[in-house]
Symmetry: C2
Subunit: 420 residues, 2 copies
């Protein structure tokens, strides 16, 4: 059976992996989070906005490594900067000049930032930010939006395994775009709220992305100022794809700390947090380190990535390409009698079918698109990168017309039924 | 004043850093953890067992990036393997073949391992291992040795800032090499102990390293088996420097999970955990992921590093060079009337002066050695790497004779006083 599949090499490597790794592949790239057996499991190489799987199949890449690839795979200038640093070395007993230069760059780029620190994962930064808020306020409670993703640490992981009740004893939730729900939470824990965590827009698992209402943001910001609560922006998913100065500028609010990761270094392992001056002392009191946290290569890659994002006006390009993609998909769906909604910022689109209440149509559509050389995730928002050009988008739309047609054929009885 | 210092460039870059980073440099490489003003703060480049600071001063490197550099800076074969992978790309929507190959290699290398997983930091793995143990046992308590370092997450960080009491509500301690203390802790929390964490030898901050007594290890292992407690080996500091099959082989005990990081990929950012078959299901239930955790370049570097460690018999070489260094230091100290003790495994030596109760002599000695082109940390164990050759060690000893002489001159009154 394996040999008949277009993904036979992926399946063969998965069989090897399953012998030596719990679940074969874990985390966000697990096949059980895609469509098992009908999409690739292992990547081989990438270039620009395309990658090849271990079966040698080529894909237009609309996941970009789940976000880090913001300029395209193996971007020549980023690679050259990384390579130049690599020749000098990366992991030392001290930081390098790149550490200072990158901190200076972050402080220059982010309007409210007085300081910056670096880690390796998004979770490193969100958890540390929580501790900084507690250190600053000497309070315990942390509020976040129900269904928001802030990382894999015990206080916020979407996983259920291995938790104890203390992990979340001081974590409370409120509802996205519901100022009253937020205010109720603050009042309930009055005087004990250290931090509020916000993503710049709401991107819950499996459902449409939702942009923030101005009233929601204004209520949160004003309340945090009034109550001395630290407002933490988790900009890990959207950062440097929506606004080069941080996504809070696009949505017009002012956090106290912001956390970045994915798009910062075009795939090199680095995350960052920046914060206001009045949190500097608290920040210096929360121990923060890791074996490779001073590594110079990812910092050199980040400096070059930020330079290119600004110089080449990549973010307006991402918006324009994202809009072209969304328009094309909606029209291609309509041609095939399918209602299609694309939500979220154009550079980070999420596709849903309002006439399908579960994600089955997304799955069928993603499988059809993978067959046609386009990698669309069935359950997770997608990511555009600077290498996507109008021709790539148009090629994608053309494939999508066929993909929607195949989907329409598969789901025709269901559509008829629901139309009755 | 700055311009007179041999570290004037380090100080100048630190002044820049202090403007945009809380504390200027945080974490384990902070100057306040060395001798401020009298040792370098920023590194510029490295090659083999040497590195250069931003003032252009050259050092024989006995910290090796606090451990990751196990073959020497910019090892040509590791860099070539990394570079080959880099050209294909690193950060994708899926893992690559390197992921499977490295998991297979870890399972082959570590005798008790049935599976492997990867992260970016040591803390990623120790915290996840704790959760796997809780998932497996459905118990809450975690025991570790007082003064042991298991990372920076709230349950174990040596930092004091930003913690709440729930962070440690289920964490209990016992005393190194004291089986009775261990048994008391197990009895006190009988039926509720999920995991015991052990480093292979004890390396507390600021004091001598202590090897394990066989009775201590036997008591822990037997008790864990009997009580169904998961025995987690934190081999992050010592792994792949003491025994290529894991440090438990050298010290003759059998853990259930082991965590690795530092020496795995010669400075490339990766950590790993391996475990027994009976923990596989629990391991698959604890969510584990990060934006860059599938990155292929560090995995390619790890595969090549492990290959070279085995092929070139690097670990026996580290032991031999470490013994040569320790012998030479003890003799060079004695020549100058100074008692010197070198503790810990030879490849991970820790130097103390039994006639100095605080670390002042360590600081003075490290400052003298830095002047003479040798980087010895005053408060932390050192690390040997495969690039250290007999000639480098002898050059170090020669410098140490002068360094000890300078120290002896500074501390002569104190020594006379203590001899009275």
């Amino acid at each position: 059976m394996t040999n008949d599949s277009p993904y036979s090499e992926s399946l063969a490597w998965f069989q090897r992996a399953a012998k030596v790794v719990p679940g074969g592949i874990y985390g966000h790239t697990t096949p059980s989070n895609m469509v098992p057996g009908a999409m690739p499991y292992f990547a081989d190489r990438g270039a620009g906005c395309r990658y090849w799987d271990v079966d040698g199949r080529e894909y237009l890449d609309y996941m970009c490594g789940y976000g880090p690839i913001v300029l395209g795979h193996c971007h020549p200038e980023v690679e050259e900067a990384a390579e130049r640093q690599r020749r000098e070395g990366s992991c030392f007993n001290h930081p390098t000049k790149r550490f200072v230069e990158l901190a200076e760059r972050m402080v220059e780029l982010i309007d409210f930032a007085d300081w910056a620190v670096f880690g390796k994962n998004g979770s490193d930064m969100t958890t540390w930010a929580m501790q900084v808020a507690r250190e600053k306020t000497k309070r315990r409670k942390v509020l976040h939006v129900r269904g928001a993703y802030h990382g894999t640490h015990a206080w916020c992981t979407p996983g259920k395994g291995g938790l104890v009740k203390e992990d979340r004893a001081q974590i409370e939730t409120f509802t996205w775009n519901d100022p009253a729900s937020f205010l109720r939470a603050v009042r309930r824990w009055e005087g004990d709220v250290a931090a509020v965590f916000l993503t710049p827009y709401h991107h819950p698992l499996y459902t449409e992305s939702v942009l923030p209402s101005p009233e929601f943001l204004q209520t949160i910001e004003a309340t945090c100022r009034q109550e001395g609560i630290v407002l933490v922006l988790d900009d890990i998913r959207a950062g440097f794809r929506v606004d080069l100065g941080g996504s809070h500028r696009h949505f017009r609010f002012n956090p106290d700390i912001a956390c970045y990761c994915k798009a910062l270094a075009n795939g090199y392992a680095i995350s960052a947090a920046v914060g206001r001056a009045d949190l500097r002392v608290a920040a210096s009191r929360v121990f923060l380190t890791g074996s490779y946290w001073n590594s110079a290569v990812p910092m050199a890659a980040a400096l070059k990535t930020l330079e290119i994002l600004e110089r080449d006006q990549v973010l307006p390009h991402l918006k324009s390409m994202g809009e072209r993609l969304a328009d094309g998909l909606v029209k291609a769906g309509a041609k095939n009698g399918l209602r299609v909604v694309v939500s979220g910022p154009p550079a980070i689109p999420f596709l849903t079918f309002p006439d399908c209440r579960n994600l089955r149509w997304n799955q069928l559509f993603s499988v059809e698109m993978a067959k046609r050389g386009v990698f669309f995730h069935p359950h997770h928002n997608w990511f555009l990168c600077g290498a996507h050009q109008a021709g790539d988008i148009d090629e994608t739309i053309q494939a999508a017309e066929a993909g929607f047609a195949a989907l329409a054929e598969r789901v025709a009885p269901a559509r008829t039924a629901s139309a009755v």
